[in-house]
């Protein structure tokens, strides 16, 4: 399986925050969801990927090409959707098309107008008058009309209502009918990932905690629920973290099989959600460092 992107030991520091030794890859032909809490480093990673920030050390290759040496050629093959509107608000779609289309060699008006029609976007109205959902649909239309192989989206579904989110996911599924396409998108609406993501990359505190197949992840991890008398300090070490209350405990395990061996039928073991994994991992980190 080929990788579209490889990050190798990439570092970037700011005053109060740094990305430490970030290594991960994005598989060609699949959807990778990029999750992490606010401030965990999602946007910084995406900016590094887009070459909008300078890395301090490490290596980033895209389509097997060095990012710095082949910047222009790489950008031609990428479609980028940003979480905020980065278009001139006083222009209309028609006017923006005149500016954006010539920037790409492979710009295809057929694709562009197909999406403008499909999304029922008014061509002559100024963008300022658009709703958030319309702006996002417009941004996506602009991003994919040069038929890019690799689509990067920073929080494409945030702030959108469920109907819009479904429509966008439907569109992404359409794109993925072509096995040459790859999508990388960051989100904290993890339920969106249930419908589409093949891989999950989780960033926490500037470090990648894991990057693996979603199905595999959800079958390895589990939520264990039971009575607190079952716990002692050794057993507690088996968990990523534990939430104890007066009525029992709830914990995340990264090894469901082992938990089943330890507790048998004395506990209830459930399939975790991505939210559970994020919450307990975050909690575990906090108790380790303080």
């Amino acid at each position: 399986m080929t990788n579209v992107v490889e990050f190798k030991r990439v570092t970037k520091s700011f005053k109060n925050f740094s990305l430490k030794d970030v290594s991960f890859s994005i598989k060609k032909g699949y959807v990778t969801g990029f999750i992490g809490a606010n401030g965990a480093g999602k946007s910084t990673t995406i900016k590094l990927l887009m070459n909008l920030l300078r890395k301090e050390s490490g290596e980033i290759t895209i389509f097997g090409l060095d990012q710095d040496k082949h910047n222009q050629a790489i950008k031609e093959r990428i479609g980028f959707v940003y979480d905020e509107n980065c278009f001139y608000e006083t222009l209309s779609i028609r006017e923006l098309r005149k500016i954006i289309a010539p920037m790409y060699q492979n710009w295809n008006d057929d694709i562009f107008y197909k999406y403008i029609d499909q999304f029922q976007l008014p061509e002559k109205q100024v963008i300022k008058s658009f709703s958030k959902g319309m702006k996002m649909k417009m941004a996506i239309s602009f991003a994919i009309s040069h038929d890019p192989e690799f689509i990067i989206m920073d929080e494409p579904t945030s702030g959108l209502d469920p109907v819009f989110r479904r429509e966008i996911l439907e569109l992404l599924h359409d794109i993925m009918l072509d096995e040459q396409k790859t999508i990388f998108f960051s989100t904290h609406i993890t339920t969106d990932l249930d419908r589409i993501a093949d891989y999950i990359t989780y960033i926490h505190g500037g470090r990648i905690l894991f990057s693996k197949e979603r199905d595999e992840l959800l079958s390895e991890y589990g939520i264990v629920k039971g009575s607190t008398d079952l716990l002692d300090s050794d057993i507690e070490k088996e968990f990523v973290s534990i939430r104890k209350t007066n009525v029992g405990f709830e914990a995340l395990t990264s090894d469901v099989k082992k938990s089943k061996e330890i507790f048998g039928h004395e506990v209830l073991i459930e399939k975790p959600t991505l939210d559970d994994i994020m919450y307990y991992t975050n909690k575990g980190e906090l108790t380790c460092t303080h």
């Binding site: 699949y30 072509d178 249930d194 891989y199 199905d215």
Partner: protein, 126 residues
Amino acid sequence: MKIIISNTSKEPIYEQIIKQIKELVLKGELQEGDSLPSIRQLAKDLQISVITTKRAYEELEKDGFIVSVVGKGSFIASQNKELLKERRLKIIEEKLIEIIEESKIIDLSKDELIEMVLILYGDDVI
């Protein structure tokens, strides 16, 4: 082809797909040579990830239910009728064992059980 996925079921989604396609084959609703939707089309239709449908197809191929031809897609494989029958016989056997065990619990005799089967089967008792 009809496939219904439950998101609340404990059974993983890829297993649900495998089970339902196998059932369609055993029932004869899918027959040798019938083409299946592509991995990516099925993922889109069911609104699930590509890797999930890919895994289901890979397992079905391993079990000999389907064949995949590069560039052409996936098709129902020619089924060994004897083997299929044998598998179904095994399922019946397992269910019968269950029935016999249930019968023993309430002290139902062998003859009584056989009589019950004959009546339910719809033939006259000889």
